[in-house]
């Protein structure tokens, strides 16, 4: 990505003028022009780099510039030397002199023309950019460009030759699915964006890049779908990214900590994803994605609590198993948080709740145990956390042995030695298994921490402690926001129609509208109701179709089922917060469903805003691997379809 190049009209005065704006990479405040002498320039650059051994200098000459020394400079590890050779050196070797212009005009003029010709006509690197200051030259070198110096000209140029070894595209390491694409992000930003581009082939997908980090100048890309996203998210993201002032961004986790809504919370407000298909799906629904160079994890915002239990596999499998698994995940999450606490509460405070036989068995087990239940539980959980952490760092060779040690020694032997009760070991194992069920790692980490809090409160106050802590967490979650959207949406506040894809998932043809929370307006993303293949049974021998599965149009009608002529966006009473009669811009308040800048109410046929995205919606399942052809953009959709707003 040749972000080294300045956008036109922006900092045109920046090159060499050292104007009021700070230099592009935000760190250089001076601006030293290059000298005319190649040796001096090379020397200056070399000094800056402190004689690093990976700075390569190659003096060459070209028939196109007879008698003039040329030099190329590059940092060895981050360029693609093959392309340097092919695009620069080879071309220089075989260039012709331009007889016509050669020798005409003043020396300077000749030099300028020569350099210009070198840059634009002879060198076949895809991107070239003139360089006139030392700082720019340094930046160019650091960004993986190859700097071409011409002796006698104070103007050099840089070509994009970025390369270097990157990891090949492999399966994502952490978020694997059984069915679905098996490609994951790598550390190279260009590759990652390329992977997303391969999925979303739409010019509406906008990629904005910037460099963040004083020393690392990490390129960070903000991606969104122009026709789908709500611009307030984009603006908010832009401002948050722009405000980051830090030494270096090593992983997207650094960025996450800066852009998240609230730091002192146990719950993540940003999803990180290693899968381009997941990122693309979220983009299509109106989220924004932030990908940073050097990190295979992209960030997706804004997200709500229920998103953390949705795995991309939910959308590739059929809806019944997907719904079941989703509900299972949520139950597992609750289980992993509450189970040890429940065990402690029941065995220590409310023994009457147990069936008598269980009580007797547990009593017998606990007869010789030295520790009280709370201490025992904490101890076992901590040991398990140690085991887990060790498993992450274990070299593969010893990994198997340690798991055996962990399971057998610590688990079974300590039971037999009478140090812990068998029930506790079972509970810890169940809890641990349940904690791995969450598809997003960050929520699983939250669960790990929450578990300890619950255990302690259960140990103090029994069920009252558990429920109190539950309440505290619910209060906390209800007040949490992610980029302005309440964290517990779409359950609270209730977003109409969102039930189709939160706790369980309806079949794809039954989810015709995009999610209302993140989407501007609401576009139909799946046209029609039940697909044709399911509507008409094979003739004769099969039983007649069930009523109500017939007309796609009725499905549409039932899909929205309301507001003829009441416009879209959210109705004031439909679960969103809205400014009554405020009349201006966004006060998203609770962050749902406001028409950007449409003033009061919604005028469905207003023609701007709503319509631009209208065309896109008709692509059946755009980007999800369905029909490859793109439906023609049609800016005049039928008005009634646009009114269908809820999703």
């Amino acid at each position: 990505m040749f972000a080294f190049k300045q956008s036109k009209g922006k900092s045109a005065g920046n090159k060499g003028s050292g104007g009021p704006k700070p230099p592009p990479l935000g760190r250089r405040v001076t601006s030293t022009p290059l000298s005319v002498s190649l040796a001096a320039n090379a020397h200056a650059i070399r000094t800056q780099f402190g004689e690093s051994s990976d700075l390569r200098l190659r003096i060459t000459a070209s028939p196109a510039a007879p008698g003039i020394k040329l030099a190329i400079l590059y940092l060895q590890g981050i360029v693609d030397e093959t392309s340097i050779r092919e695009d620069i050196l080879d071309k220089l070797q075989f260039a012709h002199a331009d007889e016509e212009t050669h020798g005409r005009g003043s020396k300077e003029r000749q030099m300028q023309t020569l350099v210009h010709r070198l840059r634009t006509e002879i060198i076949t690197a895809p991107l070239t950019e003139p360089v006139t200051t030392l700082e720019r030259a340094l930046d160019a070198l650091l960004l993986g460009c190859c700097l071409v110096l011409v002796d006698g000209s104070s103007e050099a140029f840089a070509t994009d030759a970025a390369g270097g070894a990157v990891r090949a595209v492999t399966e994502p390491t952490s978020q694997t699915v059984i069915r679905g694409p098996q490609q994951g992000f790598t550390e190279s930003l260009e590759t990652n964006i390329g992977q997303i581009r391969r999925i979303i082939r739409s010019e509406q997908m906008i990629v904005e890049t910037q460099r963040i980090g004083r020393q690392t100048c990490t390129q960070v890309a903000l991606i969104y779908m122009k026709n789908t996203v709500r611009m307030e998210f984009v603006e908010e993201a832009r401002s948050r990214l722009a405000a980051i002032d830090i030494d270096g961004i090593i992983d997207s986790g650094y960025i996450e900590e800066f852009i998240q809504d609230k730091t002192f919370t146990l719950f993540p407000t940003v999803i990180h994803s290693e899968r381009p298909d997941q990122v693309s799906a979220y983009l299509l629904e109106g989220h924004i994605a932030i990908i940073s160079d050097g990190s295979p994890f992209g960030l997706i915002a804004p997200v709500t609590f229920f998103r953390f239990f949705q795995s991309p596999e939910d959308y590739y499998q059929r809806f019944d198993i997907a719904s079941f698994l989703r509900m299972l995940r949520m139950s597992a999450f609750l289980l992993t948080i509450h189970l040890p606490a429940l065990y402690i509460a029941i065995t220590t405070f409310h023994q009457e709740m147990m069936p008598t036989n269980l009580l007797i068995t547990l009593s017998a087990q606990r007869e010789g145990i030295p520790l009280p239940a709370l201490a025992e539980a904490l101890l076992m959980e901590l040991i398990f956390e140690v085991l887990r952490e060790a498993g992450v760092r274990m070299p593969r060779a010893i990994g198997a042995a340690i798991s055996v040690v962990g399971a057998l020694v610590i688990g079974t032997a300590s039971v037999q030695a009478g140090l812990v009760s068998a029930a506790m070991v079972i509970i810890v194992a169940l809890t641990a298994m349940s904690s791995f069920v969450a598809p997003q790692l960050n929520i699983a980490n939250s669960a790990r921490l929450m578990r300890f809090l619950f255990m302690i409160s259960a140990g103090m106050l029994g069920f009252v402690g558990i429920i109190s802590l539950d309440l505290i967490f619910i209060i906390h979650l209800a007040g949490l926001h992610s980029f302005g959207i309440p964290y517990l949406a779409p359950m609270a506040p209730w977003v109409k129609g969102s039930w189709r894809d939160t706790i369980f998932r309806m079949p794809r043809w039954a989810m015709p509208l995009r999610p209302a929370m993140t989407h501007r307006g609401a576009r139909k993303r799946v046209a029609g109701g039940k697909p044709k293949s399911q509507q008409q049974e094979a003739p004769q021998s099969l039983p007649p179709e069930l009523p109500g599965q017939q007309q796609p149009s009725s499905m549409q009608g039932s899909g929205q089922g309301q507001q003829p002529g009441s416009g879209q966006g959210q109705q004031p009473g439909s679960g969103q917060s809205q400014q009554p009669g405020s009349g201006q811009g966004q006060q998203p308040g609770g962050g749902q469903g406001q028409q950007p800048g449409s003033g009061q109410g919604q005028q469905p046929g207003s023609g701007q805003g709503q319509q631009t995205g209208g065309g896109q919606s008709q692509q059946p399942g755009s980007g999800q691997g369905q029909l490859p052809q793109v439906a023609p953009v049609d800016h005049k959709r039928q008005p009634n379809e646009q009114r269908g707003e809820q999703q």
């Binding site: 700070p22 009252v464 429920i467 209060i475 009473g573 679960g575 609770g590």
Partner: protein, 408 residues
């Protein structure tokens, strides 16, 4: 970060439902009427519906005001402020009563050894936390808790049914002693609690100003919760019978304790206590919050400060009553004689005297009114205004970087 906006009608309906349920299943209401308690409850519900209509009418005169504003409109600024302050304190008192209820309940059932101050401090702290988060968060909390509560109560009823404990014959003979005891129980006791506690809605209705569905939502929610309460009351009576129900302190717990299924489902009264916990919490937080909001409307105290004022007051007041008996007695004898003033009498007066002119006065006041809820509360910052104020100066430059760069 404060939000602005409205509460939806659905949120209001859910809040009303949960709030009215509150801790009502804890006691067998109307037990003085014996097995006709459910009839008494029905009558009180109907009367409460009438009061709800009165409240709604009052609210419609000035949809963007809350009850303190209405007081000011009807009675003039000074009297209105005084009345508003009075109602605020009354609501805080009722919140305190519920805190004490919670303490007593927990001490009797779940945690007999834990000192009550500890438990009451816990719930007060949680209520304070809720209040400090703001109105919208509070309504969201009730929304989240709603399916849990409803599902649990339904499950409870279902288990009672399956255990074969319900015997409808216990409700007979109907009206054994005639109408008198029924009527005497219904008014004013049952009307005050639980049905005219909907007066707190007068504080929250302003957040739904401009929403046409709010009225319908309120009414339907009220009907639903009345049916629910009557049903629960009837079921418990059917399980226990009038004699036992009148002896017991917590009849619902008793009834649930009798459930014994499959040899392992038993002693579910613990779970019911937790349901009551949640119900009490909503009541406490609801009233605490409305007291705080009223303090702001009546006297202009900001919400956070008012929350900090009322929190310790509520906690301290809950120690006022030395014993449980005193507490129950105070509830039954004393407060049901006081609260009708604010719940019934004053609204009726306001209804009668303010017939036409109030609405006009409210209209006149609206554009300049400092109490229009359209304005953000306190120092609002929506998320999407530039938050980078502290470091906006030099950092605005990098914003130029963020401009879309054409992909070359």
């Amino acid at each position: 970060m404060k939000e602005t906006g409205n509460i939806s009608a659905g949120q209001l309906a859910i809040f009303l439902f949960m709030f009215s349920i509150g801790s009502t299943p804890m006691f067998q209401l109307g037990i003085k009427a014996g097995q006709d308690s459910w009839i008494a409850l029905c009558l009180a519900a109907v009367a409460g519906f009438g009061m709800l209509w009165v409240y709604r009418t009052l609210q419609n005169r000035a949809p963007e005001e809350d009850i303190a504003g209405l007081y000011k409109l009807h009675f003039g600024k000074i009297a209105g402020t005084v009345l508003g302050l009075g109602l605020s304190i009354l609501l805080a008192y009722e919140s305190m009563r519920n805190v004490r209820d919670f303490g007593e309940l927990t001490s009797s059932t779940l945690l007999p050894q834990t000192p009550m101050w500890c438990v009451m401090l816990l719930i007060t702290a949680i209520a304070y936390y809720t209040v400090s988060k703001g109105v919208f968060t509070f309504f969201r909390i009730t929304q989240i808790l709603f399916p849990m509560l409803l599902g649990s109560y339904t499950l409870m009823m279902f288990l009672l049914l399956v255990s074969g404990l319900i015997d409808y014959k216990q409700l007979r003979p109907v009206l054994e002693n005639g109408y008198e005891p029924v009527l005497k129980t219904a008014f004013p006791d049952l009307l005050s609690f639980p049905f005219s506690q909907v007066v707190v809605l007068l504080v929250y209705w302003k957040y739904t100003a401009g929403n046409n569905k709010a009225g319908v939502a309120t009414y339907s929610s009220y009907i639903a919760v009345s049916i629910f309460l009557v049903a629960v009351n009837a079921v418990i009576m059917m399980v226990l019978g009038p004699a036992v129900a009148s002896i017991k302190a917590f009849p619902t717990l008793e009834a649930v304790e009798l459930i014994r299924l499959f040899n392992f489902i038993e002693r579910l009264d613990i779970l019911v206590t937790l349901l009551l916990y949640i119900g009490l919490y909503i009541k406490i937080a609801g009233m605490y919050f409305s007291a705080v909001l009223l303090l702001r409307s009546a006297c202009g105290v900001p919400v956070q400060v008012a929350a900090l004022i009322y929190g310790p007051i509520i906690y301290a007041m809950s120690f006022m009553e030395p014993t449980n008996t005193f507490h129950l007695w105070a509830g039954l004898e004393v407060s049901v004689k006081f609260t009708p003033i604010y719940h019934i009498a004053i609204p009726l007066i306001m209804l009668l005297i303010g017939f036409k002119w109030v609405k006009r006065k409210a209209e006149r006041q609206k554009p300049s009114g400092p109490q229009a809820p359209t304005q953000p509360q306190a120092s609002t910052q929506t998320q999407f205004q530039p938050q980078t104020q502290p470091q906006s100066q030099s950092q605005s430059q990098p914003q130029s970087q963020a401009q879309p760069q054409p992909q070359s």
